[in-house]
Subunit: 334 residues, 2 copies
C-alpha cells in the first residue's frame, strides 16, 4: 500500500524533510525552526524565485520525482549563474495534493538537496501546503561577484556567445508530448535535468569578460531580445553558427534551427563580449566547464535579426508571449 | 470590460510589476533582471518561505487583492520576527489563472510592496506563472540579531509570554465562513491583515530577554507544543490569563477560550523569559510596540497542560494535524 501525504501528520512530514536535509557548513540553523540562519556572506547578494507547476511546466509522467527536485533547483540556480554569482542557499515551497505518495515528496526533496549541494549551496528551509496541483516554488540566494552581470551593458560591436548547445530541451519536450514516458534518450534527459551554468557564469564575471548576460530559459530569440532591450542594442544572429546537440543534427536543418532559435528551457548562458576581451575569453575557456560558441554580434538599433548561410536576413517575429501562451503555452496548456 | 492576465503579454505583465515596485535603498538592482542584487548585509541572515493558496488558505471573497498582498508579506515576515530579526527583502511568486483581472495582480503587488516597505524591507523580485488556483509564495530575507532566537532554549521555570491578543483571527475566520464577504468588523480585519510583530521580536532579541520564541500561526496549543518539543520542556498555560480581544470577550467564556487556545493565524509571538530577565522585560515594555501577557510557565516533562480558574488541570489533545486537515482543514477544505 502506498503511503500518501494524507496518511501522515503534517508534523511527521516536516520532520521527514528536516531529517532528509543534511547539515551544511555556513548554515548554523537549517530547516525546522521559524526561519533558517545563514552565516554572514561577504559582499552583495543575489536573490531569485521561480516556480514549476504541474500541468503548466511539467506533467507527472515526464520525469521522476527526484528529477523534478533536481530540475527545480537548476532552473532557479540558472538565474544566479546569469548574474555571474555563486549559489549559497535555497528554500523550497512544495504545494501538493494530499494524494501525493510520501515517497515522491521524499524523492523531490532528496533530488533538490543533492543538486543544491553539487552547486556548492544547501537546501535550508521550505514549506509544505496542500493544493490541487503539485508545484515547487524555489528561491535561491547567491553571492554576487564584485560586479554583478546584468542584461544591460552590451554595446554595438560586442560579440554574442552562448554556452553549450541549443534546442535539445525543446526536442526532448516534443518527444515527451508525443510519447509521455520517463524515457532516457539524450534529448529527453536534457529537458528533464538541465544544468545551471554556474561555473561558466562565475568565471566569466570574475574575469570581467562579459558586458551583459542572460540565461536562455524561454528561447534564444526571446532571451536575446530581452538582453537587447535592456542594453538598448540590436542583435544579428548567424543561424549557421548555432551549436546543435547531436540529436538535433539528425533532424532536417530547418527543423533543427527552429528548435534552437525558439525552443526554451536549455538554461544555457547568452552573453555579450566586447572585442577587446576576446583574447582573454579564449584564454579562459578551460575555466568555463563547457563549450562556448560565437553566434553573432550586437548592432545598433533594437531589432534581433537572423542571418542564414546564404546571407539572407530576416527580421524575427518573436511570437506572442501572451500570458496564456507563455511557458505553459509552450508545453501544451492544461 | 475587465482586462485579464490573458489579455496582456507576459512581458507587459512583468513590466507592470517592475514599474509598481519603487526603488529602495540597499537594493542596487530590483525586479526585471535574472536576479535582484542586494547590498551587503553585515552579520548572519535569516530566510523563510511560506505560501497562501486559494481554496486552501483563503477564498477570493474573504479579502481584497490588496489585503491579500499585505497578508502574504506579513505571514512570512512573522517568521523573521520570531527569530528576532529585521526584514531586508522579499520575493513574491504569483501563480494565477489567466482570468485574473490585471487590476487584481496590480493590487496584490502594491499591497505586498507597501507592507514590505512599512516593515523596513523591499519587494525585490518575483515570478508570475499560470495555475488553476491563485497562490502567493513568499520568501523573506532577514538580518539576524547577534544571537538569533530559536524555538529551542527554553528551560523549566521560564515564564511564558505572548504578544497582543489571541483568538481574534480565528473568530474572524469563523465569521467569514458563515458570511463570506469582505466585512470590516474588527475580528475579520484581524484575520485579513495580521501584523508581524517585528518590532517586539527584534527588541526582545536585542536585549537578550528571551530564551526561545515562535510565532502563533497554527494555534497557541500547537505552537506552544512546538516550542516545548524543540526545548525539551513542558508548559503549563493558565487559561484565565489568555489575552482576548474585545470581540472574544463578548462570547461565552468556553467558546472564547477555545478560540484563543486552538485558533491560529493571529501571528503573535509566544516566548519564554527566564526569571532573571523579568525585571529587564518590564523595563523594555515600551520598546515592544504592543502589549505582552504572561500566560503560564515552562515545566519539566514534555506535556502542555492548561489550567482553568478553579485550578483544574487538563492534559491537552492537540488534535490531529494530518496533512489533509492542517492549515486548509482549519478553514474548510476545498
Amino acid at each position: 500500500m502506498i503511503t500518501r501525504l494524507r496518511d501522515r501528520g503534517e508534523r511527521a512530514l516536516l520532520d521527514l524533510i528536516t531529517r532528509l536535509v543534511r547539515p551544511a557548513r555556513a548554515v548554523p540553523l537549517g530547516p525546522g525552526d521559524d526561519a533558517a540562519v545563514l552565516a554572514r556572506i561577504s559582499g552583495p547578494l543575489l536573490i531569485t524565485t521561480d516556480a514549476l507547476i504541474e500541468r503548466v511546466h511539467f506533467r507527472s509522467g515526464w520525469l521522476s520525482s527526484r528529477m523534478l527536485g533536481r530540475r527545480a533547483f537548476a532552473v532557479s540556480a540558472s538565474d544566479v549563474a546569469a548574474m555571474g554569482g555563486r549559489v549559497v542557499a535555497a528554500v523550497l515551497a512544495v504545494a501538493a495534493p494530499e494524494t501525493l505518495p510520501v515517497a515522491s515528496l521524499r524523492a523531490i526533496i532528496e533530488g533538490f538537496d543533492r543538486e543544491a549541494r553539487a552547486a556548492g549551496g544547501a537546501l535550508v528551509g521550505g514549506n509544505l501546503a496542500r493544493a490541487r496541483d503539485l508545484s515547487l516554488t524555489v528561491t535561491v540566494l547567491g553571492a554576487a561577484p564584485a560586479r554583478p552581470v546584468t542584461r544591460a551593458g552590451a554595446r554595438p560591436g560586442d560579440h554574442l556567445f552562448v554556452t553549450g548547445t541549443l534546442g535539445g530541451a525543446a526536442l526532448g519536450l516534443r518527444l515527451l508530448l508525443e510519447t509521455p514516458s520517463i524515457s532516457r534518450t539524450a534529448a529527453v534527459r536534457r529537458w528533464q535535468m538541465p544544468a545551471a551554468r554556474l561555473r561558466a557564469g562565475a568565471a566569466l564575471a570574475r574575469r570581467g569578460l562579459v558586458a551583459a548576460m542572460i540565461d536562455v530559459s524561454d528561447g534564444l530569440l526571446i532571451d536575446a531580445d530581452r538582453l537587447c532591450t535592456a542594453s538598448g542594442v540590436g542583435a544579428r544572429i548567424d543561424v549557421a553558427r548555432l551549436p546543435l546537440p547531436p540529436a538535433l543534427r539528425r533532424l532536417d536543418t530547418a527543423a533543427a534551427r527552429t528548435l534552437a532559435l525558439r525552443g526554451g528551457e536549455d538554461y544555457e548562458l547568452l552573453f555579450a563580449v566586447p572585442p577587446a576581451k576576446l583574447r582573454a575569453l579564449r584564454a579562459a575557456r578551460a575555466a568555463l566547464g563547457c563549450e562556448i560558441t560565437r553566434i553573432g554580434e550586437l548592432v545598433t538599433g533594437r531589432e534581433v535579426t537572423i542571418h542564414d548561410d546564404r546571407g539572407a536576413t530576416a527580421a524575427v517575429a518573436l511570437g506572442h508571449d501572451h500570458f496564456q501562451r507563455a511557458r505553459g503555452g509552450r508545453i501544451g496548456a492544461p
